[in-house]
């Protein structure tokens, strides 16, 4: 049995945004682990806390965010690291890609300069060595005529190429954990599939662990080993991609899957989840899904349901798991 710690362990992570109009509980007691070489998808709708979870792990939240809990990369808690060590870990063993590459890339440096600079910062190699590795990276993410593209600025690339360049930058120092925040959401469907296939291939080759955030169940089915469903800041269900897609246990997951639109439903009414998600500034006392839930009873309105382990690695936070 492997006793080494998982690549990533998130323990009781909570994020509260303090504001003049009260506190917003964006993430509440999220705990999950990602094994080496595993892809875990955080699946949820807007406001579910999935992106905030990633940003908290990466130390990218603004000062009024109050973060508690632990985020351990290979056993080391990065939330308590001093600034210099955090800077070393970011872009080193822990790296992130974003939905909007134009915001992640620096517009005034070439792609090659940005990748080489990252490598020099983290590993202290020579400029020549860093430039050689930057070229390797661009070839690895399948950017055509890579040598020429190294000298391009971000605005000179198409959307799909920019996404590839950002992936190359994130992989520059061989991270053990890659955080991916909706990296294909802004892309056209044909380009989205190219990027998903590329990420899958790179992840396998490099043995990386990936935390992938998306709202799209189809994307989750294409990329994940395991899925963790988030609702109103909490993880409500985790399981393998097959378990969650085929036999959802939490009523929210079941409702989300049932409301997927596809051609086979033509002429029929779509199943919907009534109502809308609660405000994070005024969460109900019991289960946050209770006001929309057909299975709810009196207990759901008053007590927070515990996370029920249904099998190893499978959990549903519900009094009435299906």
């Amino acid at each position: 049995m492997d006793t080494s710690p998982p690549a990533l362990e998130v323990d009781e992570l909570s994020v509260v945004f303090r504001g003049r109009e009260g506190d917003m509980a964006a993430v509440t007691a999220a705990s999950f682990a990602v094994a080496r070489g595993e892809v875990l998808t955080l699946l949820g709708e807007s406001g579910s806390g999935k992106s905030v979870t990633l940003k908290a792990m990466m130390g990218l939240l603004p000062g009024h965010a109050c973060i508690t809990g632990a985020v351990r990369v290979a056993g080391r808690d990065i939330l308590t690291l001093p600034a210099a060590a955090l800077a070393k870990a970011r872009g080193g063993e822990l790296s992130m890609i974003f939905q909007e590459p134009m915001a992640a890339l620096d517009p005034v440096y070439t792609i090659g300069e940005q990748i080489a600079e990252t490598i020099i910062q983290h590993e202290g190699v020579t400029w020549r060595e860093a430039a050689r590795r930057a070229l390797d990276l661009l070839e690895r993410v399948a950017i055509p005529s890579a040598a020429r593209r190294l000298r391009n600025y971000p605005h000179e690339l198409s959307g799909g190429m920019r996404q590839r360049a950002m992936i190359a930058l994130a992989l520059a120092c061989q991270p053990t954990v890659l955080l991916a925040d909706e990296p294909t959401t802004a892309l056209d469907v044909t380009v989205q599939m190219q990027i998903l296939l590329l990420l899958r291939e790179l992840q396998r080759e490099l043995g990386m662990s990936v935390v992938f955030v998306t709202h799209d169940v189809g994307v989750a089915a294409e990329i994940s080993d395991r899925i963790a469903v988030m609702y109103a800041g909490r993880l409500v269900e985790t399981g393998t991609v097959r378990e969650v897609m085929r036999q959802p246990r939490h009523p929210y997951t079941a409702g989300l899957l049932a409301s997927i639109v596809h051609g086979g439903l033509r002429g029929r009414r779509l199943e919907t989840i009534p109502g809308s998600p609660p405000s994070l500034a005024a969460l109900p006392p019991g289960c946050a899904f209770q006001p929309r839930c057909a299975r709810a009873d009196a207990r759901c309105g008053t007590a927070q349901p515990p996370s029920v382990a249904l099998a190893p690695g499978t959990m549903a936070r519900c009094f009435h798991p299906g």
Partner: protein, 337 residues
């Protein structure tokens, strides 16, 4: 195109945008946003327009509403030509044809109450204030927003799904016959989008509406449309009944698009790339067939001539038309799903 009476018929719709640049700000290039697009929508049907960004689907919608002036093209509503002698003017057109946009917040006046926004157009078109307000309240109720609770609120106090319901109510306030829905559910969360799609189906039936449904979402278009038009770089590449387009797509681009749809079955993941590269820039697109630079079947004729939108050679004419020169390209079975 069939000769059945169409509620909306468009012939040869074209819009090119100049690109200015250089020290003298001369015209240096042309964006061929919409190029010779013809379509017809029969009364009571839903025509879906699908395509990737830059294919011209939203520009087409704006040209139909005359939010942008077309360079060329005839627009007939209920058999009467818009802007022609003996036809109808743009104001009359807009009373019969309304539009819902993707951005539910940007399309509402932030300083106007919900009721005010919905009642505005009927008042501008001559309805008395009290009657306009009464109509707005009835519509609010119809789209699932309790008037007493929502009428006096402002757009920022509503969720995205609620705002889109308001936009739908506003589009219906002039009692139009045709509604253009331009990515109307694309920005909504999936569970909310399903609610709005159900609402659209109800409204269509109750008010005898005709829909032009524009979206990049292949699943939603298949669900809602009777017929589908596939666009690529400003042109129509394929059109036909929804079952034909999704079941027996003829254009290699349509096939690639459908094969790029994420699966919902983790055991049947996409393995091979249906299409490489990004869509080319609509500034100075490829000659002839615009898809030829990404097409495995392209040969010399594809670069030389623009393929007409027609039934395949030797095929009995039906409603399933494709713009492709190469018969072999049109027959391959769809892979993946």
């Amino acid at each position: 195109m069939s000769d059945a009476p169409a509620l909306l018929r468009v012939e040869g719709l074209t819009k090119h945008f100049p690109v200015h640049g250089g020290p003298l700000n001369r015209r240096v290039a042309t964006v061929r946003a919409v190029d010779d697009v013809s379509l017809a929508v029969a009364a009571g049907e839903t025509l879906g327009i699908v395509g990737e960004s830059g294919c011209g689907k939203s520009t087409t919608a704006r040209l139909l509403m005359r939010l942008i002036e077309p360079d060329r093209g005839r627009l007939l509503f209920d058999g009467r030509e818009v802007g022609a002698a003996g036809g109808i003017d743009v104001t009359t057109l807009r009373r019969q044809m309304q539009m819902v946009f993707q951005d539910s917040y940007a399309s509402l006046n932030p300083r106007m109450t919900i009721l005010g926004s919905i009642a505005y157009a009927p008042r501008m078109h001559g309805l008395a204030a009290r009657a306009a307000d009464a109509r707005a309240e009835a519509l609010l109720d119809r789209v699932g927003l309790e008037p007493r609770q929502f009428a006096r609120r402002y757009p920022h106090e509503l969720s995205g799904g609620q705002r889109q319901r308001v936009n739908i109510a506003r589009a219906l306030a002039l009692q139009p016959r045709l509604v253009i829905l331009d990515e109307a559910v694309s920005a909504l969360d999936k569970s909310v989008a399903a609610q709005v799609l159900n609402l659209l189906a109800d409204l269509k039936q109750q008010f005898n509406l005709t829909y032009l449904f524009i979206s990049h979402d292949l699943n939603v278009v298949e669900y809602i449309s009777d017929r589908v038009l596939v666009m690529y770089l400003g042109q129509v590449v394929e059109t036909g009944p929804v079952a034909a387009i999704y079941g027996r797509p003829r254009h290699p681009y349509t096939r690639a698009l459908l094969a790029s749809k994420p699966t919902l079955d983790p055991d049947r993941r996409t393995i091979s790339l249906p299409l490489t590269g990004d869509p080319p820039n609509p500034i100075d697109p490829p000659s002839g067939c615009r898809f030829r630079t990404r097409c495995g079947f392209a040969d010399a004729v594809c670069a030389a001539r623009t393929p007409p939108l027609a039934a395949p050679l030797g095929h009995p004419p039906d409603a399933h038309l494709v713009a492709c020169h190469v018969p072999a390209a049109q027959q391959q079975a769809i892979h993946g799903h």
